[in-house]
């Protein structure tokens, strides 16, 4: 009974227009999602600025250059006449990729002498390197296959035979779940959830410590009932906010949502529950709301990057995995992306169970800490 009384009390302050906390919890995650969706609106990296140093100026070299220029991944921004010029353009970042075609390029191909094409990339930002490495292979393979085939045809081989000799192994790549390798599909859901995490942190962190000012001693049971009661309004609104994020990701930024609505909601709900419980612990620990809000602040970026959203779990060191295990986003980001892109998440059940059990445990801890601190603070004042 007490629980609902506390829930009602908390709702009246939390939902009041004056407090503005409701707007923060509802709109901040949405705002994050839209902002980051705009950043990644091009979705894939394309038009890498490319500089060409063609020392051959032959039909073959121009064909290769055209293949780069025709690809949407590259944009030829300059053709230079010396290695120094090329290096200088790469150094001042006018171009991020440089293609050097040697002299006698066409002649050496015709004479079957073999020739080297040098591709230089400025990899200080790995994104450029990743895009170049994956897209360049296709261009080069096509070019090599074409030229090799012609050489062998000239040596009295049939065209199909020649092609099979040049490319005895044909690589077929099939990418499922995110075939366009889009960045929105990859990151946006997780970033939106990070927005929800921040909103919950901002709103919930003052929920318990404001009670210390009342200077009323309450028992353990009542403290636990209060913690549970206070949880309800925040949890309900956080669930709405979570759905808003998912809807925005799906409807505004066209990220597929193949998963079941209920499973998605359960995942978001378990996450909100856990996070509110964590915030309650901090709120109970620090009587000063400023301290309470500042302590978990430094966790924000590590929380996101340790979640496995970008750097995968299996690539982390054991210490990294141990740290990652205590980050709430670990249990939601990848699962949500799976629900959106795959339609199911293989780790959904374990993630939800982990979050609910961690949340329940922390909720009890928050209640106990609140009871002890409240007793100490009130006694201190009465003395």
């Amino acid at each position: 009974m007490n629980i609902f009384k506390f829930a009602k009390e908390e709702s009246s302050t939390f939902l009041s227009i004056k407090s503005k906390l409701l707007y923060i919890l509802l709109l901040l995650p949405l705002c994050y999602t839209v902002l980051f969706g705009l950043v990644y609106s091009k979705n894939v990296m394309s038009e890498l600025p490319t500089v060409i140093y063609d020392q051959d100026n032959s039909l073959a070299s121009r064909t290769l250059i055209n293949m780069f220029d025709d690809s949407d991944k590259y944009q030829v921004v300059a053709q230079v006449q010396s290695t120094e010029e090329l290096e200088s353009l790469l150094k001042n970042e006018t171009a991020m990729v440089g293609v050097v075609i040697p002299p006698n390029f066409a002649k050496d191909i015709k004479l079957s002498l073999g020739t080297d094409v040098l591709i230089t990339v400025n990899a200080s930002n790995i994104m450029y390197n990743n895009v170049m490495m994956s897209s360049c292979q296709e261009i080069i393979q096509t070019f090599v296959a074409g030229t090799g085939e012609k050489i062998l045809e000239a040596g009295n081989k049939l065209p199909t035979q020649a092609l099979a000799t040049v490319m005895p192994i044909n690589i077929k790549v099939r990418i499922i779940n995110n075939p366009v390798t889009g960045y929105n599909e990859f990151m946006l859901g997780g970033l939106g959830i990070n927005g929800l995490q921040i909103a919950i942190l901002l709103v919930v962190i003052t929920a318990l410590n404001k009670e210390y000012n009342k200077k009323i001693i309450i028992g353990v049971k009542k403290s636990l009932a209060m913690v549970c009661g206070k949880l309800i309004p925040y949890w309900v609104v956080a669930n709405f906010s979570f759905l808003l994020v998912v809807l925005a990701v799906h409807n505004i930024f066209a990220v597929p949502w193949r998963g079941n609505f209920l499973e998605t909601l359960i995942l978001g709900s378990a996450f909100s529950f856990l996070l509110i419980a964590i915030c309650f612990v901090f709120s109970a620990l620090f009587s000063d709301p400023v301290q309470a809000i500042q302590m978990p602040l430094l966790y924000l970026m590590p929380g996101l990057l340790y979640s496995g959203l970008s750097w995968p779990d299996f690539a982390m060191s054991s210490l990294g995995q141990a740290i990652s295990a205590v980050m709430p986003l670990k249990y939601v980001c990848v699962s949500l992306r799976d629900l959106l892109l795959l339609g199911y998440s293989p780790t959904l059940n374990s993630d939800v169970l982990t979050m609910l059990s961690m949340g329940s445990f922390l909720l009890i801890i928050a209640g106990v800490i609140f009871y002890l601190r409240n007793k100490a603070v009130t006694k201190e004042v009465s003395l």
Partner: protein, 375 residues
Amino acid sequence: MSWWQKFLAEAKNMLIKDPRRIIFLVGASIAYLVLFSILYSPGIVKNIPLVIYDEDNSMASRVLIQCIADSERFKITNQVNDQEVMNDLVKTKEAAVGIQIPRDFAKNIKLGLSADVLIFADGSNLVTVNAATTNLQNIIGTIGKGAGMKILQASSGPSNALDKVNPVNVKFRVLNNPTESYLNFFVIGLALAALQQGIFLSIGGSFLSKLTNCDEEEYSWAKLSAKIMPYFLGAICAYIITLMMASIAFGVPFKASIVDLMIIGTCFSFSVIGFAWLLAIITKNELIFSRCSIFYTVPAFVFSGYTWPQQAMEPISHGLSMVFPLTHLASCVRDLMLMGSSPVVYVNSIILLMLGTIFFIIARWGYKNKVKIQS
């Protein structure tokens, strides 16, 4: 109170009375540096779980599998006998990639008929899929060249066989981060984002706790500079310590000219202090200030162009990113550290100085009004 007395009083506040400020100012970036160095310590994505479906079970297919197994990038978790099982393992994410080697793989190669190898990858994580497909294409391509060469040698003798099969040899030269290490790529920017956060919190604490008892002199430029100077010096110290630690403790290359690094770091500190002060003026109390600075942390990093480059942003995001001081620092410092130079170091320093000046002018005006209203 003279300038020095004011400076010492504020330094005492920062170091002794409210040590939280110095802890945030210096500790935040160091904590991030250590945390993210642990995360990215493997440097590259290794041990990508891979499943093999070898329908051929021939010498050639086993050579291919051995090459994959020898690569540090992959860890063969399963060898299956059914395509459905392979697909399921990838779909259930027990493996990130599946390789299907078709029946008659070796025979087709010998007969001069092309053999198809299928790479079946889960694309939900781009970091994994990029590393997997690029490396597999390299491995399979190398084996393909060898096989083609043997075919040709068998039919037309050993001369120039490789050059005929592979007439154009592509050599890659990866500048500035040749090992493609995520540690070198990522941690500096993240530590600098934390430094920004540390400056924010310490400045917020300073201005919002002192605002109520200001006198007329408090907002003269001289007095303000005395108040800000301890944080400014603290920020520069934190910046130097962070970069030194990144290089000495975590092996991030340090090719930069110290002068360039100091110029841009100093301008950044100036600019962020101005921004934090402005935010402190706009917000009512330290709690709201902390809320605003939390809201700002992640967008500032994402918009900075540190990972997703600004050239790839649409104009609104690009325009918005220009207001954030971190945009003008993070990528530039990474270039300085990894390349030894940055084409925009001076331009960005000037932009940061200008931004800082604008922030300070507006903040002082707001501060003056706020103090007047309160008194």
